[in-house]
Symmetry: D2
Subunit: 344 residues, 4 copies
């Protein structure tokens, strides 16, 4: 064939097409909105950009969108709406059609804090998700403008200095069903899995819409509650930042559940700490990009998976048993522990 | 419309489609093949995996392909073939068609070191490039197998320990022509630019096929030679690794031209050192991912660009005047300087 | 001989005895006390513990004394009193006698901010110094108490997070005279020197009272003003902290004169930035401890010294020509540059 | 009084005098001399400088003495002679007298590998120690000469790159007796202690001859064997180096017992790994200098001490129960585990 440069190339239906660009926004539910807000602002160094009704909107200094983390006051901790941005308006249409074709009900939600209309639905396990395309880039006010033209906001040097949101890890009563939904309906790619019993039992799956190692993980919910959160992960630039975070959390009475240590799966370097509302927060860096378009998912069995740690302290029992909202009658002491730092 | 999950979604011709997955292989020409090989192996910690005729093939410990850097003996230093992997066989076909449609001659090259057939062509300035899809993942021999199942090769802890190749920076007599070629024919996205004279003169452009900030840069060749290399960049995991690299290079008599310092454009943290053959090598980390599907290129004018440095020592005159092959009668003393480390 | 354990061992007059324990306090003069205070508190993360008259007293989170940095309002920038703590009351007596025996007038100064009486005098070039022994360890208020029993104050995670003061670098019209004074009268040990003209001209000398590489440096004052300051150095825990400091200073419009880079002399990793009052501040780490009791001073000649940089950008001309108070009619633009951060 | 500058100041017997300069050499016993040598040379990056009879002599790149680590073939792992350098010949005489006065037999040992005659004795628990003054500074051969005039040996960039030896931790049947011996007879200063039962039981004591936090620690030997080693510690320059060490050890099958993590006592950042002979090796950095001449020892009780970890994984049971030589019939599997790296 012959064509003129600049003209679009013909696309074949069999081509892999990336319709989901990235994780756009995480809504976290908390029974202690003030302390939770202070935790993300004063300790983790995120910026509060907006407040409306029961919600406070924050961002990392490197996030290009106005807000990437939404904190909402609620009776119990847990995950609210997980929003994904699509790569184009057509991609949004395609995925809305795919979601409906998959028999999952959804509805359109009004614009919010710089984001346009989003289509809200639930994954098989019941987590609330949304997809959207329209997004107004963040315009920093004078006092938060960076001296770097390509950085959306000043690097403030406050606390942990989270750069951006990275991923969410969800519990599921049927990991395979949720994993297939993300693969087939949203076009995510499977990166790694933990499978027990000679591969018969899918314990966890890690998926991504881009070359990022993963932006969503599903791990089996042994208590079969549904719609629960294991943790959300925030990105810092290097391992030293994670170590600084351990010092900062320790000095402020924040409960550190695990780390600093290195995962075998994803190679991520992590610190897990609870925010005052009881949700598990991961401060995360390292890992690796998956550049191979034909990446073959890495499958870990019981022996290979071990404790999930490459080096560093073993993950405690609570890491396997605690999630939000908590299935137990009462939240564990750890989750109830209130940071002593001054929110003012 | 209704459809079954798992079925491909209809793609519209207007959709942005990523056909180029990533930079797959860099061929570097050197008049000192033995010293150059020792430099990448012993100092930078890359692994030699193969040798054939005048060429030696190396890899970074994190590269998934068998080889990502090819060193070829030649009378003068410079860049050889720059190979890009496509996202699918169909993507390869589309881009071959687009290249031919753009009026650029090309030909198919035989498989090499784990890579399948590649289609070789030249960019407008004359740099040799190739695109391919087939790639056999690296299988490490026993003594190089990692204890991490998702790492293709052992982290050896030798020297700088380069993780993977990152990008190439090329000189061009017509930056706009090369930039348009990469955008329109190969589907790259423009990330940042330096434009002088109120935007009239395009001094440099940085582009990427993925969410990586950039994998190719074109900067104006003031001497109008054509087909020249400014530098190739190798990725290390964090800033401390770049500082270690400065210690290692200094101890081995390797000429450090600039850095450690931080660019304003790309926010990359860098060290520029010459390999024994005279080519400029960048050890690189930091920078940022471009997750926004509608990223607006950042344009820097004379004043904003300054020396191209955010903080750290200013870039020396040689950074603007020296490239390989060198246009001057003789290579500068710096480039001729031979590292004193023992290649054995 | 026989003796009982616990009894003191007989000391011979010829024994080397360390009478000066460490640099105890630095007084800095500034024409912009409010901005200078905000700089050390908000950007460098030091803590304000006291204010009296024209002075504000600060500390690093790791300093054991109540205050180690005293900022005093003055018409021009420069160095005030440099205080050294002795190892014992007897050591204080010995050194007072030695100072007087050296023909240098001195007088006793009243206790201040946790420190007991100090004996104040001038070094040959005219810098004001003092020695003292009594020092009350810092007792942090509840909100600044660390969760580490052996850390005097909480690691707050604010800005650069300076740990402690490290050294002072002074200009001198007669480096040899000041160096000899510190060696012979105060018992400092010479560590490194820069000597030009085949060793005939002493350009600079670095000395220490302990195994720290150096706590005072004298460099020739080419303008022969007398009593001037080149810089004071504050310690951070690692090189990544210095890089963070470069980001923080850059974001707040603080003038960075040199670095991040590595000195050849002392092997220190540094960043030089001006505080709003015009004084040069070094953020410093790395270097090395001198454990050898018979260390032979390292002498650098013109060629070996080079620019004083092991790797990283060369030191600018201002590094050699600018000191406080400035000898020029007006302070250089750099020194006049006011950080744009909000002192509130 | 009046005196001339340069004349020694009169010393009073009551003055604290530092007669021990620093830890000079550690002798380690190993049943696997070849693998142990390869471990320190290839993985930890130490340099082999000499071999004689059953012993191999090594050094860290920053050590000023020719050799600081002596490996000696023996039937069982454990600690050999621990050598301390004095600050002067007179200091050596004083301490020899003090040791004999304390009723501890000793004898003079011939010079070895750059060190002059040393006086060998045993501490109360039976560990072999020696003190010496004469020491010839290391002269690196051409291929190991550093480009830094003040660095005794090239920074080779091999593996972990240990800079210098830091401290030894010994088990004792009577911690108080050994602690008093080091304080009263050798002039060490007590830095921190762990005391249980309201202070009645001395579990551990950390002491130092200089401003280094500690160079020797005694911890109770619950099995009451005598003369045993808990670990030796080697210094690396920053926390990132310790993390790299964890990667390197993991890739080479070296058993990591604990860390990377941060101690509460000493604030040290550590990694504990076993060398092939079964001895516990600590890779160590951070901690803090004790500049206060009147430092008050920090005492930790059961509750404050906790697991001895400030943050990071808890120390395993083996950390409390395993020492060398091992009291158990057989060494634990961990200790028997042989690194898989190729010693060649």
């Amino acid at each position: 064939m012959t064509r003129q440069p600049g003209q679009p190339c013909p696309i074949e239906p069999s081509d892999p097409v990336q319709d989901i660009a990235h994780l756009g926004n995480i809504e976290l539910l908390t029974p202690r909105i003030d302390l939770t807000t202070a935790y993300f602002r004063d300790l983790l160094g995120m910026e509060v950009v907006h407040a409306a009704g029961p919600s406070v909107f924050l961002r990392g200094y490197g996030d290009y969108a106005a807000s990437t983390l939404k904190l909402t006051a609620a009776p119990r901790p847990g995950i609210g709406c997980i929003s994904w941005r699509t790569t184009s308006p057509a991609a949004l249409d395609r995925r809305v059609n795919a979601i409906e074709a998959a028999g999952r009900a959804g509805r359109w939600i009004d614009p919010e804090c710089g984001r346009g209309p989003s289509f809200r639905f639930r994954d098989p396990d019941g987590h609330v998700m949304a997809i959207y395309y329209e997004e107004a880039p963040y315009r920093a006010p004078e006092h938060l403008r960076s001296t770097l033209k390509n950085l959306p906001m000043r690097y403030t040097g406050r606390g942990v200095n989270v750069r951006r949101i990275d991923h969410v890890a969800l519990l599921s009563r049927d990991v395979a069903a949720d994993r297939r939904f993300m693969e087939e309906v949203l076009g995510f790619r499977l990166r790694e899995q933990v499978r027990f019993d000679r591969g018969a039992v899918e314990i966890g799956s890690w998926l991504s819409p881009s070359i990022l190692h993963h932006q969503v993980a599903y791990v089996v919910d042994t208590r079969r509650v549904g719609g629960r959160l294991h943790h959300i992960a925030l990105w810092v630039d290097n391992r030293e930042d994670v170590l600084r975070a351990a010092d900062i959390c320790s000095e402020h009475g924040v409960f550190i559940e695990a780390g600093p240590a290195k995962h075998n799966n994803s190679q991520g370097f992590y610190l897990y700490a609870y925010e005052p509302g009881g949700n598990r927060i991961e401060l995360y860096t390292g890992s690796f990009l998956v550049l191979a378009p034909d990446w073959r998912p890495v499958i870990w069995d019981e022996a290979e998976r071990g404790t999930g740690v490459y080096w560093g302290g073993a993950l405690p029992e609570s890491f396997l048993s605690y999630a939000t909202p908590d299935a137990a009658a009462a939240a564990p002491v750890d989750a109830a522990r209130v940071p002593v730092f001054d929110p003012s």
